[in-house]
Symmetry: C2
Subunit: 411 residues, 2 copies
């Protein structure tokens, strides 16, 4: 069960002009389950993405990067195809060929060129992708294409997610109503048993390629790059921002006044999706915000946030609602900031000041910590007292169910 | 239950000339439990140590480093005092004063100077050390001092360890019989609920301070620095090597022919203790050796080994005996070696070649992987195919009990 999250109603997910979505049951790994999603984009659509930094990145990730930035990049993207069940990672040359064959199959169906198609896979690593099943499923996807299919699409890309994740916004920009709608699946930087996080956000605004590329990086840095469940980076992580221009109007460049407003809304949608992933983190019973302030730079604030978020000690203490908060200090000391003066650090649990001067706050009472630890949502705030930089990391606790889900899933 | 490990019999733990050990129940955190150990060293004894790199290192660690290397370092060490229950970490200035008060109390009892005493603590972080209880317990420790107390001492420093950890060797060196005996407690680089790993090894060989300092670093690098349970580095980790010279003979320097033989035996004892810690890792049901070869340097081999050993995915798959081995590739890709060519990597599970050319070995059959995964001890071998460096990491799986132990321990 996710922590304080539920999927928006289908009616709340506004269609994006120029985007149609179709779903099918292709039987890629299991039968009787929607496991294939086709997203068709109108002519003139653009896309930009950020991808996993895992060196064993999946074949579809490599193909996406080539089609989005490579020499033969068409500039125009006309379709995305997403399968669940098989990650097509750790598959070597055959995997690369399978991802390209998938693009070619979609291109034939939609009468576009294969380089205008972006492939995505999520599932088990080291197993071959059954391209023939994807090909066989495509006609049903095409027949199902509809601008109002965002809700079903959010469900079609689920693996062990317990809820579908989607978000939608509308803003006024230069007298026009701009829609931003997105979906995501996963449970953090890693899908512990499917090894994938996927996020797709589309807008009908017209945006230059350079502005789009910058916007997707900025949005990812403030959303998907702030979440973790267990600290591994998956082989398939992909976050794609699509701009169809369907709303009309002149193209928005990086220097346009509309850029900031649109970027803020895109980031807002991405953040809602990213936080939904943590709230649905495998076995999660608590949603934990970590705010690190007073750093020399954002990078070291992130490092401290992740050191806390990745500590099994901290995560199990939160699962137990046990205010064994020295574990948080130990994690901070383990963050790799060699010149950190631990005697200046302050640490709060919500509004309770737990630690000062490298030790326990004399006024801290264990029952205050115990009270906060009972909550389903908790904020850990750390002041490094050495600068003005700030960063947030969002995570969940580590429970029996995390182990159960990951120990049992293939059996 | 530890994986294939049991404490040696008391008779197998040979006394070290110049070392006497005394145990007491001081009621430091809980009653009716041996929680205080005093190790008395004969005049002329030396010690060297390696300590945690956690910036929140405990007060006793700071005092040890000062007494071993500081300006007022006496060169001669006459006693070690170890308490369980409270880590005296995250305790700021009061913690520092408490550790020094402990040394002073021991010094008074043994008529030595406080700088000749090394203090060690293991237990809960952020809570004050009850020095008065340690002082009150010292007379019982002194009355109990005996050269044959290694077995009891190994039990006295246990916290959530399920077995006491001890090892002993005797070698012939220059016509003399040299004894090396050691004890340790903990479950890896971290004590998940007590935040401490401690290791003490003593020999009656006469060794120069420089040779001793080098020997303890070399031994740690080949033993305690190769193990992990959950990847956090504790605030109190300490490994101490003692040389009493009680065996007589001329002092062994770094350039002496005896150095290598003695260092090998010391490392052998340290490795046995370190591996015992992993075999007794919290909730461990499997003992996993990770051998990484073909690296440019030892550091990158270690990085790959730890990336595998710290992946909750890999650890839960081993707990489940599930040959979901793509998780190992994902961990390798996440090790931070930016120029690694994943298409050259090979990976074995014991003698089964699982992965070649960045993908699955065509000859690999899942039942072969499944057979190996059933074992209580498993070796993962990775060939990076880029150099001659090699490194080993020893770890255990991640089970329900790991979560249970760490979620419940203070309740």
């Amino acid at each position: 069960m996710p922590v304080n999250y539920q999927t928006p109603a289908a009616s709340q997910l506004k269609p994006v002009r120029g985007v149609r979505l179709g779903i099918a049951e292709a039987g890629i790994r299991k039968l009787d389950r929607k496991d294939l999603l086709l997203i068709e984009l109108a002519a003139g659509s653009r896309a930009a993405g950020v991808f996993t930094r895992n060196l064993f990145c999946a074949a579809p990730v490599q193909v996406c990067q080539r089609h989005l930035g490579g020499p033969e990049s068409p500039g125009e993207i006309r379709a995305l195809v997403v399968n669940t069940g098989i990650a097509n990672a750790g598959t070597g040359e055959p995997g690369w060929l399978a991802a390209q064959a998938t693009c070619a199959a979609v291109a034939r169906r939609l009468s576009v060129v294969p380089e205008q198609v972006l492939p995505f896979s999520t599932g088990v690593i080291l197993e071959p992708l059954p391209v023939e099943r994807i090909e066989a499923g495509l006609p049903a996807c095409v027949a199902d294409l509809d601008a109002d299919n965002w809700f079903d699409a959010a469900h079609a890309i689920m693996t062990t997610d317990t809820v579908a994740k989607a978000a939608s916004r509308q803003i006024e920009l230069g007298g026009r109503t701009i829609t931003i709608t997105g979906i995501a699946k996963g449970a953090g930087m890693i899908r512990p048993n499917m090894a994938t996080m996927l996020g797709f956000v589309a807008t009908d605004a017209a945006i230059s390629q350079a502005a789009l590329a910058r916007m997707v990086r900025e949005a990812a840095d403030e959303s998907f790059n702030c979440v973790t469940v267990d600290g591994d980076t998956s082989t398939n992580d992909s976050f794609i921002l699509i701009a169809t221009g369907g709303a009309g109007g002149s193209e928005i460049g990086e220097s346009c006044p509309e850029y900031a407003l649109l970027a803020e809304s895109v980031t807002d949608v991405a953040r809602e999706l990213a936080q939904a992933i943590v709230r649905d983190g495998e076995g999660a019973t608590k949603y934990i915000r970590i705010l690190v302030e007073g750093g020399d730079n954002r990078a070291e604030c992130k490092a401290v946030g992740y050191a806390i978020a990745h500590s099994p000690l901290v995560k199990t203490a939160f699962f137990a609602s046990d205010p064994n908060l020295g574990r948080i200090l130990a994690a901070i000391g383990n963050a790799g900031i060699t010149d950190l003066d631990v005697n200046r650090i302050r640490m709060w649990l919500d509004d309770v000041l737990v630690s000062v001067d490298g030790g326990r706050n004399p006024a801290y009472r264990e029952q205050d910590g115990a009270r906060i630890m009972q909550q389903a949502e908790i904020t850990i705030r750390v002041d490094l007292a050495r600068g003005d930089a700030v960063a947030s990391v969002w995570t969940c606790d580590l429970s029996y169910d995390y182990v159960k889900i990951n120990a049992d899933y293939r059996s």
